[in-house]
Amino acid sequence: MASITHLQFLESEAIFILRETAAQFQKPALLFSGGKDSIVMAWLARKAFYPSKLPFPLLHVDTGHNFPEAMTYRDWFVKEVGAKLIVGSVQKCIDEGIVQEEKGINASRNKLQTAALLGTIEEYQFDACLGGGRRDEEKARAKERFFSHRDEFGQWDPKNQRPELWNIFNGRKHFGEHFRVFPLSNWTEMDVWQYIRQENIPLPTLYFSHQRRIIERHNQLLDAETGFIPLLEEEKANVREMTIRFRTVGDATCTGAVESTASTIDEIVAEVAAARQTERGTRADDKRSETAMEDRKKEGYF
């Protein structure tokens, strides 16, 4: 009896979820950040509908605080998979007065993404957004469904979720409600990296070891090169050139780096296997409080 590998199982499960999403909803979109999870998800979407093109667009919620490398990659990837790209802009929401920029040195547009995301969902009438969230990332995500219901205000009610039995997914909804769908729910960080290696998926250069000007703040290594993070006077004096890589790639103001010389996928897989910190340990946005992720998710965050 040929038994399948865990990567084969996870790939097939994700393809199944992607096809369910296309079949059960009128107008889905795939949330694409240029991070490795959304890259893997879009890669799987190409497999799911091959030889057709993707039956939904990629949606990038742009904070305006992007690493240039991530943008270069995004534009290349969209072309490579032959997808349509829609950009929802946080800057536009700020300009229109829908949200206000956070103040202070830890200001981040991470939370403002929610407004831009919900605004774009409404503008385009998307009824399902595919996200690359995984249950192993964070404790609130561990309770997430594959098909996660959102009310007409985009809110998540973790106490009132639909049970998910076998492989039967219930995407029924009332007008104005929508779903977030997470095809990578059962993947771990290690699975994602092993899959990237197996499939030979090109990634943004940010994930590999490189030299970067860095400051240290609250035990985190933050970018001092893009200029998006305002620096205190004493920090300006302490900017250091370091050999780092990023374990996650998000908004430049809250994505922490790790010191690393891992410059190939194999080296990264070995590093992840030996790591004693979760990848979210490098995310400043999760450190705001014990339930920071849950609070953002309830409001409609990814």
Partner: protein, 446 residues
């Protein structure tokens, strides 16, 4: 570490844990995660900090699994949570189900995707009503492997007599089930780690595997390989393009039935029946992005093309010609009722979801309800409330293509969806079709 980095050797095991409050379930899961080095430093640090803040005298491992604000505040677990860990031999997905009021609903949900259940018994209390409920639910959902984890052995001085008595009581009960699962009993202390990952020196009389050894080596997934070949059609791939694809050729006439193989094996050239029409044709091609295949593997996803133009779409089913499937609109099924604000009664109507199909359904009869503590069937009540389990007869608006749940967990299962709230209100397991020679077999409208 090398083996952990190598994805090709390991397979995946889904398991669920069942136990009542205070039987050490969270401690056991914490122990498995901790001893397999799946808890990270920052997670442990966060748990230590909140344990201190709450005034817990020790590092409260339950806080690792209780993620939501309300759970932390009230010290309860609200919902099924999924945990992940890996050893060099296997990857594991744990469905961690809380033991409170919605227990049945949560355990049924966790069990529906599990290959194995760990049933915890407190060695001081022995087999109690909860143990029997959990075992009944595991057997109802057809989990074929059970680990009977007799926990807190440290509190009964690792006494073999206590272990033997509990095992014997348990087997007596399990023999009354419709189908006896494979039972692997293990004496453990989750708190101290005895026989969880490391073999305990305090149980020299025990010769079986440790809990982790058993999890790493138990054989599962036999059914998807041995059951009849079933391919529910999920989506039809029609590129509608005049371009040529390097692997598939001209795309103009490409019409692929996309789906995930529920069970069995299909090969190119196989004679198949395509439902709803049950027309016979042959498999022309088995496609994946990674190239053409000669045959399918259970649980993997494909796009299949057939030799003749046959009409099917989402909700349809492809099976081997010599292994036809039931096609009908009336059947008996066991259900677990999940709604807390509504009850199920005869004549109630629902959306029924089965494989990739959705039809409307009406309850034509309530046949019996099961008291899951005594396993007795009763016909006293025609009404199901939260967590009730029993047997009903359903009639659907159009035929569905099914097997008995006892033969196939994928093609034998369904859910009921409330027509007003759209909530999932019941899990169903098909027993058998209702066949009545005198009944008019035309489609009913409901």
């Amino acid at each position: 570490m090398d083996a952990l980095v190598n994805p090709t050797e390991s397979s995946l095991l889904h398991f669920t844990t069942a136990g009542s409050v205070d039987d050490g379930k969270s401690t056991l899961i914490g122990r498995l995660l901790y001893d397999s080095k799946s808890i990270f430093e920052d997670q442990l640090l966060a748990v230590e900090e909140s344990s201190k803040r709450r005034g817990d005298g020790h590092v409260n491992l339950a806080l690792l699994t209780d993620g939501l604000r309300a759970e932390r505040e009230q010290g309860i677990t609200i919902d099924v949570a999924y945990r992940y860990f890996a050893t060099p031999k296997r990857k594991f997905i744990i469905a961690d189900t809380p033991g409170h009021i919605q227990y049945t609903r949560n355990m049924v949900t966790g069990a529906s995707t599990a290959d194995l259940a760990i049933i915890l018994v407190d060695a001081r209390l022995g087999v109690i009503e909860q143990t029997m409920r959990h075992t009944y639910l595991a057997s109802l959902l057809r989990i074929e492997n059970i680990i009977l984890a007799i926990n807190k052995m440290d509190l009964v001085e690792f006494d073999q007599g206590v272990y033997d008595k509990i095992l014997s009581d348990y087997l007596t009960f399990a023999q009354g089930l419709d189908k006896m699962p494979q039972i692997c009993p293990i004496p453990i202390s989750a708190l101290n780690g005895d026989n969880v990952v490391e073999r305990s020196l305090k149980t020299p009389w025990f010769s079986g595997p440790t809990l982790l050894q058993h999890l790493e080596t138990v054989q599962v997934h036999a059914e998807t390989t041995t059951a009849k070949a079933r391919f529910p059609v999920q989506w039809v791939i029609r590129p509608i393009s005049d371009q040529n694809d390097a692997k598939v050729g001209n795309l103009h006439d490409y019409r692929g039935f996309a789906g995930r193989v529920a069970s069995g094996t299909f090969r190119v050239g196989d004679e198949v029946l395509v439902y709803p029409s049950a027309m016979k044709t042959r498999i022309a091609g088995i496609h994946t992005y990674d190239g053409l295949q000669n045959e399918t593997t259970p649980q993997l996803s494909y796009s299949m093309t057939v030799a003749d133009e046959i009409d099917t779409s989402r909700g349809g089913m492809i099976v081997k010609a010599d292994e036809p499937i039931e096609s009908g609109h009336e059947f008996d099924a066991m259900i677990c009722w999940f709604a807390d604000k509504k009850s199920l009664k005869p004549r109630a109507r629902f959306h029924l979801r089965h494989t990739t199909n959705e039809v409307r359904a009406v309850v034509t009869d309530v046949l019996f309800k099961v008291n899951i503590s005594t396993l007795e069937k009763s016909q006293d009540s025609q009404e199901f409330s939260l967590n009730d389990i029993g047997c009903i007869r359903l009639r659907t608006s159009a035929p569905i293509f099914f097997d008995a749940y006892s033969e196939n967990r994928t093609t034998g299962s369904f859910i009921l969806v409330d027509e007003q709230t759209n909530n999932t209100v019941a899990a169903g397991m098909i027993l058998k079709p209702v066949t009545d020679a005198f009944e008019d077999d035309s489609e009913v409208s409901i």
